[in-house]
């Protein structure tokens, strides 16, 4: 499983009612981008949203597989 797959799996289980997209623009499986649209973000600040995402993928960073994840979070009404 690639790191991108791992991140997508973790994010999808953390935000089951949301839409998760993970991209690997440099095709290095290291510098990834994730966009998550979820109602869980409604009314939350950017920092709160990012913390939710960080929690979902916490061990991916810890194990040093993931060096950089560019995160975009949107609530459904912001899309």
């Amino acid at each position: 499983m690639t790191t991108a797959d791992l991140v997508k799996t973790k994010l999808t289980s953390a935000f089951p009612n949301g839409q998760v997209e993970v991209r690997d623009p440099m095709q290095d499986d290291t510098h990834l981008e994730a966009t998550i649209v979820s109602d869980d973000f409604t009314g939350k600040s950017r920092l709160q949203r990012h913390r939710l995402v960080n929690e979902a993928i916490a061990d991916a960073f810890g194990s040093n597989e993931l060096h950089a994840l560019q995160i975009t979070t949107r609530s459904p009404d912001e899309v």
Partner: protein, 110 residues
Amino acid sequence: MDILDKISNMVNEAPVVLFMKGEPEFPMCGFSARVVQVLNKIGVEYTAYNVLEDEDIRQGIKEFANWPTIPQLYVNGEFIGGCDIVLEMFEAGELQTLFKENGVANSNAA
């Protein structure tokens, strides 16, 4: 003094504090470079710490902010976020507002 106390002092020493990889003139990472660019564009004064020079700081700030990555921006002792958040706030005009509200010195004051 333990590392978390040290970091607490560091983030409260100046109105705007940035933990980054490298120096503002020579960033060692694209994300740190982008935050520096934004701060320079707005024209705020800030204190930058190069975490590559101190492994204790580098790991300590992750625990202190409960945030896994670098760069990390603090305004008046409060953690604001990393590169993604700083860029989004800048594009939305929120960063400039944050600095004004916190009375941060701005050499490009509009």
